[in-house]
Amino acid sequence: MSIGTSLDFFLFVAIALFAIGAIGAMTRKNMIVLLMCIELMLNAVNLMLVTFSTYYGNGDAQIFVFFTMVVAAAEATVGLSIIIMAYRNLKSIDIDMYNQLKN
C-alpha cells in the first residue's frame, strides 16, 4: 500500500495526538503531566511532518523533525528545572496552586 492513499489516515492520527495533548494540557493539574502533554503535541507535529515529507518525497521535513526533537529536549530540560525551582518555593507541583498572580 502506498503512503499517498492513506495520507489522511496519518494526518488524522497526528491531529488526534495534537488534540489529545492540547486537551491534556488544559485539563491536567500535574506539571509533569503538562510537560508530557506538550511533548505529545510536538511529537504529533513531528508525525505530521514526516507524513508530508514522504508524501512530497523530499527530506526537508525529516531534517526539521530532528530540529524539533532537539528543541523539545531543550524545552524539557528548562521546563523541568523551572518545575523544580517552583517546587522549592511552593512545595507543590499542582498547577492550580500557582495563582497568586491574577486580575
Binding site: N99, L101, N103
Partner: protein
C-alpha cells in the same frame, strides 16, 4: 470760524471737561471742578448758538472713517441742521443751567468730582446722539447716554440704607434701556439690509427716489425703531425704570430723566420721519402707546407722595403726550413740546431739588407744607413751573399742549377725549403737589423747620432763568390767531431746516375751532387750580396715609402693580429657567453625564480584569478557544466567499 471746526470744538469741550475732572478731579477744589464742568457745557452752548445763527440747510461734517467695506461705509460724521442744532441748544442750554445748579446742590457730596465727570460725559454722549449724521453714530450716543444714566442713577451706591437700592435702580434702567437698544440694533440691521447705508440723508434720498418701498420692511424697521424709543423715552411697556431712576441725585433727574435723554426717543422718531411716513400702521401704534402711557402715568401720579416720584410720572405722561403728536405725524409739534417740557420740567425738578436740599434730603410731601414763606424764590419759580405744565393760559405749556390737542381734535376725537382726561389729571396732581408742598402748615416737625432754608444763588439763578423760559417759551410757536406774521415760527424753522420735515406740516386749525379749544383748555386748567386751592389750602386736606386710601387711590399709589406684574411674568420665570439650566441641565445632565460615561468605561475594568483568572489551565483553555475562534473565522470567511 468754519462750521466743522465749531462743531468739533462744540463736541470736544464737554469731553475736555470730562477728561480734566476725571484725571485731576481728586486734587482740584470743588469750586474749580464745578466751574470747569459748567463752563465746558456753557461754551458748547455758545458755540451752538453761533452755529444756530449761521444755520443754512444741512451740513455734514465728516471726522474720520470708522469702517470701510466695499458695500458699507461707516463714518464718524456729524450733521448740522435745524433739528440737531435745536436739540443741541436745549441740551447745552438747560445742561449748563443744571450744571450750575449742581455746584450748590452737590456741594456736600464726597463724590463731587465724579459727579461732574459723569455729567460732562453724559452731555458729550448726548451731543453725539443728536449731532450724528447716521444711525451708527446715533447708536454710539444712544448707548453712551444709557451708560451715563446708569452711572448717575447708582451714583450714591454707598449710601447707608438706600445704597443697594440705588445701584439696583441703575441696573434696572440700564437693562430696560438695553431691551430698547436691541430694537434699535435690529432696526439698524434692517436699514442696512434695505439701503446699504446708515446716513440719514442718503436714506432719505433713496426713499424719495423710489416711493415703491413701503409695507412690510418699513413697518418692521419703524416698529423696531419705536421699540428703541419706548426704551429710552419710558413708554409702555418699558417705562417703569424712569420712576426708579429718581434714585439718582435730583440734578440728574432734571437733566437726564426730564430734559434731555428721555427725549432721545422723540428725537429718533423725528429724525426718521421719512421712514415713519411710509409706515402708517406704526404711527397708529405710536399714537395709542402714547395715549395709554400719558393716561396711565398721569393716573399713577395722582397719589404719589414722593415729590420726585410725582414729577417722574408726570414726565412719563408728558412723553406720552409727545408720542401722541408723533403718532399724528406732527413732528414739529412734538419737538415744540419737548422744548417747553425741557424748560418747565427741568425747572420743577430743580425746584424740588432745592426743596429737598432745603429740607435736608426729605422727599415726602406729607412732611412738607408752608414752604412758601421759608423758601420764597423756590416757591415762586415752582409755581410758575406748575402753572406751565398744567396749561394755565399763556405759559409755555399751554401753547405746546394746545398744539397737540389741536392735532388730536383734527385727526381722532377719541384721542382728544383721552388727552383731555390726561391733561386734567396732570393739572390735578401738579397742583396737589404744589399746594401740599408750599401751602398749609409745616408738617415736618419744628427742629427740621428751624433748619429749612432757601438755597444759595448758584441754585436759585438757574431756577429763575428756567422760570422765565417757562413763561415765554410759548412765544416760539404761537398759534395762528396771534401775530399772523411771526406765528408758527418754530414750526417753519424746523421744517425748513430739517431733512424730510419740509414736506410734512402739522395741521393748523381754523380760527374758530382753535379759539374754542384754547378757551376750553383754559377753563379746565383754571377750574382745577381753584378746586385744588379750595381742597388743599382752604379745607387743608393733606395726603392720606397708605392705609386709609380707597380703591382707586390705592391702585394709583401702587403704580397699577406694573412692577409686580413684570416680576411675575418675566423676571421670575427667567431666574427659574436660569436656575434650572444651571443646576439641572448643566451640572446634573451634561457634566455628570460625562463623568458617568467616563466612569462607566473605566469601571468596566473591574469586569475585564476578571478574565485574567490566574489559573494556567484557564489560560491554556482560552488559547485553545482563541484557536477555535480563528478556525470559526476561517469557516465564516469561506462561507462568505462561496
Amino acid at each position: 470760524m468754519p462750521q466743522d471746526l465749531t462743531l468739533i470744538l462744540l463736541l470736544s469741550f464737554p469731553l475736555l471737561g470730562f477728561a480734566i475732572n476725571g484725571i485731576f478731579g481728586k486734587q482740584l477744589p470743588k469750586m474749580v471742578i464745578g466751574s470747569i464742568a459748567t463752563v465746558a457745557v456753557f461754551a458748547s452752548f455758545l458755540l451752538a448758538t453761533s452755529l444756530f445763527s449761521r444755520l443754512d440747510g444741512t451740513t455734514i461734517v465728516n471726522l474720520f472713517n470708522v469702517l470701510d467695506f466695499e458695500n458699507l461705509q461707516i463714518n464718524a460724521s456729524f450733521q448740522i441742521d435745524a433739528l440737531s442744532i435745536w436739540m443741541t441748544l436745549i441740551i447745552t442750554g438747560v445742561g449748563s443751567l443744571i450744571h450750575l445748579f449742581s455746584i450748590g446742590y452737590m456741594s456736600h457730596d464726597e463724590g463731587f468730582y465724579k459727579f461732574f465727570t459723569y455729567l460732562n460725559l453724559f452731555i458729550f454722549s448726548m451731543l453725539i446722539l443728536v449731532l450724528g449724521s447716521n444711525y451708527f453714530v446715533l447708536f454710539f450716543g444712544w448707548e453712551g447716554v444709557g451708560m451715563c444714566s446708569y452711572l448717575l442713577i447708582s451714583f450714591h451706591y454707598n449710601d447707608a440704607q438706600k445704597g443697594i437700592a440705588n445701584s439696583l435702580a441703575g441696573r434696572k434702567a440700564f437693562i430696560m434701556n438695553r431691551i430698547g437698544d436691541v430694537g434699535l440694533l435690529v432696526a439698524l440691521f434692517m436699514i442696512i439690509g434695505q439701503f446699504n447705508t446708515l446716513e440719514y440723508t442718503k436714506i432719505g434720498h433713496l426713499i424719495e427716489s423710489n416711493k415703491a418701498l413701503t409695507g412690510g420692511a418699513m413697518f418692521f424697521i419703524t416698529l423696531s425703531l419705536f421699540i428703541a424709543a419706548t426704551g429710552k423715552s419710558a413708554q409702555i411697556p418699558l417705562f417703569s425704570w424712569l420712576p426708579d431712576a429718581m434714585a439718582g441725585p435730583t440734578p440728574v433727574s432734571a437733566l437726564i430723566h426730564a430734559a434731555t435723554m428721555v427725549t432721545a426717543g422723540i428725537y429718533l422718531t423725528v429724525r426718521s420721519n421719512f421712514l415713519f411716513e411710509l409706515a402708517p400702521f406704526t404711527q397708529n401704534i405710536i399714537l395709542y402707546t402714547g395715549l395709554a402711557t400719558t393716561l396711565f402715568a398721569a393716573f399713577m401720579a395722582l397719589r404719589q407722595n414722593d415729590i420726585k416720584k410725582v414729577l417722574a410720572y408726570s414726565t412719563v405722561s408728558q412723553l406720552g403726550l409727545m408720542f401722541v403728536a408723533l403718532g399724528f405725524g406732527a413732528y414739529t409739534v412734538a419737538l415744540f413740546h419737548v422744548t417747553t417740557h425741557a424748560f418747565f420740567k427741568a425747572l420743577l425738578f430743580l425746584g424740588s431739588g432745592s426743596v429737598i436740599h432745603g429740607m435736608h434730603e426729605e422727599q415726602d410731601i406729607r412732611k412738607m407744607g408752608g414752604l412758601a414763606k421759608l423758601m420764597p424764590i423756590t416757591h415762586f419759580t415752582f409755581l410758575i413751573g406748575t402753572m406751565a405744565i398744567s396749561g394755565i393760559p399763556f405759559l409755555s405749556g399751554f401753547f405746546s399742549k394746545d398744539e397737540i390737542m389741536a392735532q388730536a381734535l383734527h385727526h381722532n376725537t377719541f384721542a382728544y377725549i383721552v388727552l383731555v382726561i390726561a391733561v386734567t389729571m396732570t393739572a390735578v396732581y401738579m397742583f396737589r403737589l404744589y399746594f401740599l408742598t408750599f401751602h398749609g402748615e409745616f408738617r415736618g416737625g419744628d427742629q427740621l423747620k428751624s433748619k429749612v432754608h432757601e438755597s444759595g444763588p448758584s441754585m436759585t439763578l438757574p431756577l429763575i432763568i428756567l422760570a422765565i423760559l417757562s413763561i415765554f417759551g410759548g412765544l416760539l410757536n404761537l398759534p395762528g390767531l396771534f401775530f399772523k406774521n411771526s406765528a408758527h415760527w418754530f414750526d417753519h424753522f424746523l421744517s425748513a431746516g430739517t431733512f424730510g420735515l419740509n414736506h410734512i406740516h402739522p395741521v393748523h386749525l381754523d380760527f374758530a375751532t382753535s379759539i374754542q379749544l384754547m378757551i376750553f383748555a383754559s377753563i379746565v386748567a383754571l377750574s382745577v387750580l381753584i378746586w385744588a386751592y379750595l381742597n388743599y389750602v382752604k379745607k387743608g386736606n393733606i395726603a392720606k396715609d397708605d392705609k386709609d386710601l380707597n380703591g382707586w387711590e390705592r391702585l394709583s399709589a401702587a403704580k397699577l402693580f406694573v412692577d409686580e406684574l413684570y416680576n411675575v411674568l418675566i423676571v421670575n420665570p427667567i431666574l427659574a429657567i436660569s436656575d434650572f439650566t444651571g443646576k439641572i441641565i448643566d451640572i446634573k445632565l451634561l457634566r455628570n453625564g460625562v463623568y458617568a460615561l467616563a466612569d462607566g468605561v473605566l469601571n468596566s475594568a473591574n469586569i475585564s480584569r476578571k478574565w485574567q483568572s490566574g489559573f494556567l489551565s484557564s489560560y491554556l483553555f482560552w488559547m485553545v478557544f482563541g484557536l477555535i475562534i480563528f478556525v470559526a473565522y476561517y469557516i465564516l470567511k469561506i462561507s462568505v466567499w462561496h
